[in-house]
C-alpha cells in the first residue's frame, strides 16, 4: 500500500472502529472518544452521560449530569398545544411514516418562536451580554437591526422570553429553581436573581427557551450545540403524542374551521355540476 491517504476517508475525533478480521465493513469494536462502547461503556454509562460525551468529548461531572437530566425532562414534551407536537400529531393522525412525524416536529420546533432557533439566539445573547445587566438592558431595549435578510425570519420577540406571557409561567419558574439548585454559581443563578429586571427590560416574561439557554450556556454549549441538543431533547413528546393520535384516528383530532375571505363561490352552475 502506498502512503497516500484515501481521499474518501472521514476524519473524526468522535468515533473509531476496529474491523472484524473477515469483513472490512463490520466493526468488531467501536470506540467513542476513546471509550470502548460495547466492551466497556455499555451497562456503565447512563444515556445522558453518553449524550454529553458525544457532544463535548469528555465525561460529564455529577452536577452536569443532574442538570442535563432535568433539562431533558423539562424539554421532552412541550405538550400537544405546542406547534412542533401539533405538527407531529398532524403527521401521526394521517398515518404518515414515523420518520416524517419526527421530521415534522423538527421542522416546526426549529423556529424562533419557542423552538431551537430561539435557544440558539438566546445562547448568542448570553455570549454577547454575559451577566452584565446593563448590557442586557441595552440589547433588549435596542436590539441590533438586521444587516441583511436570511432564510430565518427575523425574530419577533426577544429570544428567551414569552411573547404572549403575562407573567413567568409556573413550569418555567419550577424548572429554573431546580436547575439553580444544581448550578448555583453561573448564568442560571444570575438569571434567577435578575429575572424581574430582565423581564422588565424585555417587556415579556422569561420563557422555557430562556431557561434552557442559560442552562446550556452554564454547561458550555455553543449556540450551535445548544440548538442541536434542544431539537433532540424535544422529540420524545412529539413521538408519543403522534403515536397516540394515530391510534385514536383523525375523527377525534381537530380539523378546525376556515373563514375563506375571498371565496369566489361555485364556478359551475348546478347544470354543470
Amino acid at each position: 500500500m502506498s502512503g497516500h491517504e484515501n481521499p474518501n476517508n472521514i476524519h473524526t475525533s468522535i468515533w473509531h472502529e476496529e474491523p472484524e478480521a473477515d469483513n472490512p465493513f463490520a466493526a468488531a469494536a467501536c470506540y467513542c472518544r476513546g471509550y470502548d462502547v460495547y466492551g466497556d461503556l455499555l451497562g456503565k454509562a447512563r444515556y445522558i452521560e453518553y449524550l454529553y460525551l458525544l457532544f463535548k468529548g469528555e465525561r460529564p461531572t455529577p452536577n452536569v449530569i443532574a442538570a442535563l437530566e432535568i433539562l431533558a425532562v423539562a424539554l421532552a414534551n412541550p405538550g400537544p398545544r405546542d406547534p412542533s407536537v401539533h405538527a407531529a400529531m398532524a403527521a401521526g393522525v394521517g398515518g404518515s411514516t414515523a420518520a416524517s412525524v419526527l421530521m415534522a416536529a423538527l421542522a416546526v420546533g426549529a423556529g424562533s418562536y419557542g423552538g431551537a432557533r430561539e435557544v440558539f439566539l438566546a445562547l448568542e445573547a448570553w455570549k454577547n451580554n454575559g451577566t452584565e445587566l446593563a448590557s442586557w438592558r441595552s440589547s433588549l431595549a435596542d436590539p441590533a437591526a438586521p444587516t441583511r435578510q436570511q432564510v430565518w425570519p427575523e425574530p419577533e420577540h426577544p429570544p428567551g422570553f414569552d411573547p404572549y406571557g403575562k407573567q413567568c409561567a409556573k413550569p418555567v419558574r419550577q424548572t429554573l429553581a431546580h436547575l439553580v439548585e444544581i448550578l448555583p454559581a453561573g448564568r442560571l443563578a444570575w438569571l434567577a436573581q435578575e429575572r424581574p429586571a430582565l423581564e422588565s427590560a424585555a417587556g415579556k416574561p422569561l420563557a422555557m427557551t430562556g431557561v434552557a439557554a442559560a442552562a446550556l450556556a452554564d454547561l458550555d454549549f455553543s449556540p450551535a450545540e445548544g440548538e442541536m441538543l434542544t431539537l433532540l431533547l424535544r422529540l420524545p413528546g412529539a413521538a408519543a403524542h403522534a403515536l397516540e393520535q394515530g391510534k385514536q384516528g383523525f375523527r377525534q383530532f381537530p380539523f378546525f374551521a376556515l373563514d375563506l375571505e375571498n371565496d369566489p363561490g361555485p364556478a359551475f352552475s348546478e347544470g354543470h355540476a
Partner: protein
C-alpha cells in the same frame, strides 16, 4: 384580558384557499378546476407565492431556471441524502424531503441564494440613491466578509456552466436582461477591479432573474425551493436498484480517528 392569541381563536381567516371536498377547491381566490385549470404547474407555484401571473415567456424562463440546476449527481451533498435513503431502503418521500431541506445549506443552495437576492435589492436601492457600486461593495465586504453569489465550492472553473445556458434561453425567449441581472454582472466586474477573482455563480443569476420579474428576495427563496429536486429521485432510484447499503460503502478503516487515546470508563 388582552392577549393577541384570543383574536385568532375561532375559524382561521385566510385568503390563500380552501378545499370543499366533493365540490371544488379555491386557490388564492380562484376556482382551481375552472379559472386556473389550464395554468402551467410552475406558473401556479409562482402564482401561489406571489399572487401574480407571469407571461408564457417568463414562465418558460422560470422553468429553465430549475431545469438547468437539476443535477442527478449523488455526490452532491443534498442529492447524497436522497441516494443514501435509497441505499438504506428508506422511502422516496423521506429521502427527497430530507434532501430538499438539506439544500438550505450555508455554502450552496438557499442560504447564499437568499443573501444574494437580498444584497442585489439593497445595492440596487443604494445605487438609485446615488451611491457608487464600488463603495457599496467595499462596505458590504467589511460588514459581511463575503458577497454571496460569487465564487463556487468544489469548482475552480471561471464560468458556471448554468449561466451561459440560461442567458441563451433568455435570448431565445426574447427576454431582455433586467436591472438586477445587469447589476449581478456589474458586481462580478466590480469585485475583479478590487482584486477579488470571484466569478459570478448560478446563485447570483438564479435570483436576479426572478427579481427582475418583480419577486421579492423571500419570494425568490420560496420559488427556488424545488429547484434541485429533479436531480434527487434519480439518485434515490438508482441507489434503490443497487444492493442494499451498496451506495458509497465505507470500510471501518476509512474512519480516520483523531480523538483521545483509548481509556477506561471507571464507574462514577
Amino acid at each position: 384580558m388582552n392577549n393577541t392569541l384570543l383574536d385568532y381563536e375561532g375559524p382561521l381567516r385566510t385568503r390563500m384557499g380552501a378545499c370543499f371536498p366533493g365540490e371544488r377547491a379555491v386557490f388564492r381566490g380562484h376556482d382551481l378546476h375552472a379559472d386556473l385549470k389550464d395554468m402551467d404547474w410552475i406558473a401556479l407555484y409562482a402564482f401561489g407565492i406571489t399572487g401574480r401571473r407571469f407571461s408564457p415567456q417568463q414562465t418558460t424562463l422560470l422553468h429553465a431556471l430549475w431545469t438547468y440546476t437539476s443535477y442527478p449527481d449523488p455526490r452532491l451533498w443534498n442529492n447524497r441524502v436522497a441516494a443514501l435513503a435509497g441505499s438504506a431502503r428508506s422511502t422516496g418521500a423521506l429521502g427527497v424531503a430530507a434532501a430538499i431541506a438539506v439544500s438550505e445549506a450555508a455554502i450552496y443552495g438557499w442560504q447564499p441564494e437568499f443573501s444574494a437576492a437580498d444584497f442585489l435589492v439593497r445595492a440596487h436601492q443604494r445605487m438609485l440613491a446615488g451611491e457608487t457600486l464600488q463603495a457599496i461593495l467595499e462596505q458590504e465586504l467589511q460588514l459581511h466578509k463575503r458577497i454571496l453569489g460569487y465564487g463556487r465550492p468544489v469548482a475552480s472553473l471561471q464560468v458556471d456552466e448554468r449561466i451561459p445556458a440560461i442567458l441563451a434561453r433568455m435570448e431565445q425567449e426574447q427576454i431582455a436582461q433586467g436591472p438586477y441581472l445587469q447589476l449581478a454582472f456589474a458586481i462580478e466586474r466590480g469585485l475583479a477591479q478590487m482584486g477579488r477573482r470571484l466569478p459570478i455563480n448560478y446563485g447570483g443569476v438564479v435570483v436576479a432573474i426572478p427579481l427582475d420579474m418583480g419577486f421579492s428576495p423571500r419570494e425568490c427563496y420560496l420559488f427556488l425551493l424545488p429547484s434541485f429536486m429533479a436531480g434527487m429521485p434519480p439518485c434515490y432510484q438508482e441507489a434503490s436498484q443497487r444492493p442494499e447499503g451498496a451506495t458509497f460503502p465505507l470500510r471501518c478503516s476509512q474512519l480516520r480517528y483523531e480523538g483521545p487515546a483509548r481509556r477506561l470508563w471507571q464507574q462514577g
